[in-house]
Amino acid sequence: MKTAVIVFPASNCDRDAAVALENLTGRAPEMVWHRDTSLPKRLDLVVIPGGFSYGDYLRSGAMAARSPIVQDIIAAAGKGLTVAGFCNGFQILTEAGLLPGALMRNQSLKYVCKPQKLRITNSDSRFTKAYNGTADVTFPIAHHDGNYFADDETLTRLEKSGRVIVKYDGNPNGSARDIAGICNEAGNVMGMMPHPERAVDPLHGGTDGIALFKSILESI
């Protein structure tokens, strides 16, 4: 499987994503610089990692979403490429319009970092297949702007069509309908606030994230 991780200025989970991908796919991902105008050829998966791209200035994800490489990601996603965004990656994907809604400041107004209980609400997606049914998992969360917002109509549409793939068990940030992660309509673009790449090694305190990467591997 050929993967790529996008590196924006002040991405900071790029290495974390790369380590997880290399361990789980057996092959190191290509690290793609935000100024590049095109993705490497014949990719199976693009990961947009967590971090504080552009310092989270203006709005988290806003500036990264306008960078040259994201324009190519938008085009490739349109042709069916699998795209996964974690944390800041989720924020970037909503800002780029690849996913609906927006991630606002946490209701507590505070940054929150903790192991978070989650429920996989749809294990049919290509990102969650390897979870059996509606699994309960724990991934770390670490964000300041994870409060998912969309209008009611959008939220209902997302829920009805199975596009909400992960929900919080115990809402940590005020997200609408406890939403932690969603897919696009075609099912090939996914964003979530929690960090599955921080739950792939027993020393991380849990390995619930492995099945997420496995799901992607198996569906390709």
């Binding site: 991405s11 310092g55 970092c113 903790k114 090694d201 991380h204």
Partner: protein, 737 residues
């Protein structure tokens, strides 16, 4: 312009220079300095840069050892952890700025300490913070906690370095002077460590990072007022941090460091361009010529004085190998940082500054360092306090109430509200952090199966009661905390926070603490490799309690063998290692239950510490224990509660075989550990201990959902945990105070 300013005695005074100091300047220059030169002498000879009150005492510290690659004197200390890996670390204070602007003050403190570490070629891998606030009832405390914590998180989280631990105290002694001490630990290769000596003549000097603005300009209001009429508006005393630029700076510097383009590198910290250029030149034995017109400037019409004294953040100075200039430009341009060649090294031994085609400073560099004041300030030792006998300390009649009060006392209560705002997991090598309330944080060396253990400790109430014993204790506690997770303690950094050194009693505290610390360092072969001194922490003549914060670093050679306090299992036996006399002087019990802060603090027997600690480490490496916790604030009872919370299981403690129960449960004798042990290991451990002359006794067992102290308290685990967790969030939400 600057050179027209006449140097009057008032201006000299406003620059914090004494008459004697000024005479030395006149003598070395053979003429009157101009205002730029005066400003430069003033910052170089300030307490902050010259350590004039502390230098001779710091010189006593043990600073060498077979693992020490670089001791004090560079940006940070460097130790060898084998396999070609080096750990680079330092701690620094940002007390005053954090009091004035808590968010930015704390944030720039974190930024500054990180620069000290990556300047030397290390990728920062962990941050710690040691915080002291005023009493909770003080009107400013809540706002300060909130701002400082947000600032530390805001900076470290953005840069993507995990903040893995720290400590937080509240005491009225810090009402007017909070302490914000930040520590950074980085990882480098032993054969790729960068130093600050600007060797060689004719080499280009590069400036990189952010532009220079009029931030935090030190020095005299009057003198500076003459530069500009609305100087007030133009001179923010507090710097604003830009973690985004810092992150880029780290990546860019590490990228350039992977080539052989850099001869010397130095971050611009306090006194910015002045101290960085002078220190580099002084260490390299060269002169420096800088053309200030080339310095990237954020504001218009900046004067040489302002540029040299600005403390704008996220800036670095480096000497580049001739021929590698383009490489440097390319790397910094790629990361979209400001970069400029601003000068070159010379053979004159002088610092020469050019501005608008004029020479605005030309002074010999040697005297700035060699002739810096070095005072032997008078000091009087702190009078010893009487030892309190346990029998003379009121024994509570309600132990359930006592344990609840202590577990939710501000210093003991859970600091979750703080550390949940810190990203503890980024870089995915955090093995243990504040999350488990562990003794030391554990951070894996990327791509290996070894780890560093990191801790910060000091018990200011002990240092106040007896600086010498308190000094020993803070070093011993870090050593013990590293030991408690199974690490080999290697070296420390420190941040010595004290009041006004011109007062003999304060200087006495300073000297006492240093002597005690040093004795402990020598006993453990545990050298000081870096550190920082923060003096004049006082308001209206009232000094803070002496607070020599110590940051300890150790190595866990193999992650298959380590322990934390969270592994206690149902059916385990609890063994207490170390002797209990029931020491209540200067204890938490005394302060929280009886509102008394008197009595001599517990003495530290360093030989016993070493003996007990080495045995604990051996037990961990032999996998003979399931959980370990050292005893500190609140003694046996509190250590047991913390182990129960972290392990998620109840436990019961036996009462004392003799003596009053309060001193047994809450006494703070040193050199003690609580270990949780499976049934088959109990007797072997007790007999080996006895053969080695180590005090060891069974003190209870693990199981159930209550925390029980025979003859004293009996409470539910969850009820007590709730009290422990509630205090800080309630306080911060204003629903309790």
């Amino acid at each position: 312009m600057a050179k027209k300013i006449k140097i009057t005695p008032e201006i000299v005074k406003e620059h914090g220079l004494s008459e004697d100091e000024y005479h030395i300047i006149l003598d070395r220059l053979g003429r009157e300095p101009n205002i730029n030169e005066l400003g430069i002498f003033s910052v170089m000879w300030s307490e902050h840069c010259s350590y004039k009150s502390s230098r001779r005492h710091l010189g006593k510290f043990l600073t060498t050892g077979d693992k020490v690659i670089q001791g004090p004197g560079e940006n940070a200390g460097v130790i060898d952890i084998g396999d070609g890996d080096a750990i680079i670390f330092k701690m620094e204070s940002h007390n005053h700025p954090s009091y004035i602007e808590p968010y930015q003050g704390a944030a720039t403190g974190v930024g500054g300490i990180m620069r000290d570490v990556f300047t030397m070629g290390a990728r920062p891998i962990a941050l710690m913070n040691a915080l002291r606030f005023g009493e909770p009832d003080h009107w400013k405390t809540r706002q300060l906690v909130s701002g400082v914590v947000a600032g530390i998180g805001g900076y470290g989280n953005c840069v993507g370095v995990p903040t893995v631990g720290g400590e937080t105290n509240f005491h009225k002694g810090y009402n007017g002077n909070i302490l914000v001490n930040a520590m950074c630990v980085g990882l480098a290769r032993t054969d790729n460590i960068f130093l600050s000596a600007a060797k060689g003549v004719g080499n280009p000097i590069f400036y990189v990072g952010s532009k220079t603005g009029r931030d935090g300009i030190h020095g005299a209001t009057m003198a500076s007022a003459e530069f500009d009429d609305d100087s007030e508006e133009k001179r923010p005393t507090v710097q604003v941090g830009d973690p985004f630029t810092e992150k880029l700076l780290i990546e860019a510097c590490l990228e350039l460091m992977a080539t052989d383009a850099i001869i010397a590198i130095q971050d611009m910290g306090a006194a910015g361009l002045t101290s960085s250029s002078i220190e580099m030149a002084d260490k390299g034995g060269v002169g420096v010529e800088i053309n200030l017109d080339n310095v990237p400037q954020r504001e218009e019409n900046m004067t040489p004085y302002e540029m040299m004294l600005s403390e704008s953040q996220e800036r670095m100075l480096m000497v580049i190998k001739p021929g590698k200039e383009q490489l440097a430009f390319d790397v910094f341009n790629k990361w979209e940082l400001d970069v400029a060649e601003i000068g070159k090294t010379t053979d004159t031994g002088n610092l020469v500054l050019k501005h608008k085609r004029k020479t605005v400073c030309d002074i010999p560099i040697a005297p700035l360092g060699d002739d810096a004041p070095n005072y032997d300030r008078p000091h009087v030792p702190t009078p010893p306090r009487p030892v309190l006998a346990a029998e003379d300390v009121f024994e509570t009649q309600d132990y359930n109430d006592a344990i609840v009060r202590i577990i939710q006392a501000p210093d003991i209560a859970s600091k979750r509200w703080i550390w949940e705002q810190y990203d503890r997991h980024v870089m995915t090598d955090t093995v243990d952090s504040s999350q488990s309330k562990g003794d030391a944080a554990i951070v894996r060396i990327h791509g290996t199966n070894k780890a560093v253990a990191i801790t910060t400790d000091v018990t200011p109430r002990y240092c106040y009661a007896d600086p010498y014993e308190g000094g020993k204790q803070c070093v011993a506690e870090t050593w013990r905390n590293l030991t408690a997770v199974g690490a080999d303690p290697i070296a420390i950094t420190d941040c010595l926070n004290f009041g006004n050194p011109e007062r003999p009693e304060i200087m006495g505290q300073f000297v006492g603490c240093i002597d005690g610390m040093n004795e402990a360092c020598r006993a453990f072969d545990y050298p000081v490799v870096s550190g920082n001194v923060s003096l004049y922490n006082e308001t209206n003549g009232v000094a803070i309690p002496p607070t020599p914060a110590v940051g300890g670093v150790g190595l866990i050679p193999n992650l298959d063998f380590f322990r934390t306090l969270s592994g206690a299992k149902d059916g385990d036996t609890l063994i207490l290692i170390g002797e209990t006399t029931g020491w209540l002087g200067s204890s938490i019990y005394l302060r929280e239950i009886l509102q008394r802060e008197d009595g001599a603090p517990p003495p530290v027997d360093l030989a016993v510490e070493k003996l007990n600690g080495d045995y604990i480490r051996k037990l961990i490496r032999g996998r003979r224990v399931s959980a370990v916790h050292d005893l500190s604030d609140g003694g046996l009872a509190i250590a047991a509660c913390e182990m129960a919370f972290a392990s998620n299981i109840g436990l019961s403690l036996n009462g004392p075989s003799s003596g009053p129960a309060h001193s047994w449960y809450f006494g703070e004798d040193q050199a003690r550990y609580l270990i949780s042990v499976g049934k088959n290991d109990v007797n072997p451990i007790l007999s080996t201990a006895s053969a080695k002359g180590i005090a060891a006794q069974v003190v209870g067992k693990v199981g159930g959902d209550r925390i029980v102290g025979a003859g004293a308290f009996d409470v539910t685990l969850e009820g007590l945990r709730k009290k422990h967790e509630e205090w800080l969030p309630n306080f911060m939400n204003g629903t309790d105070a």
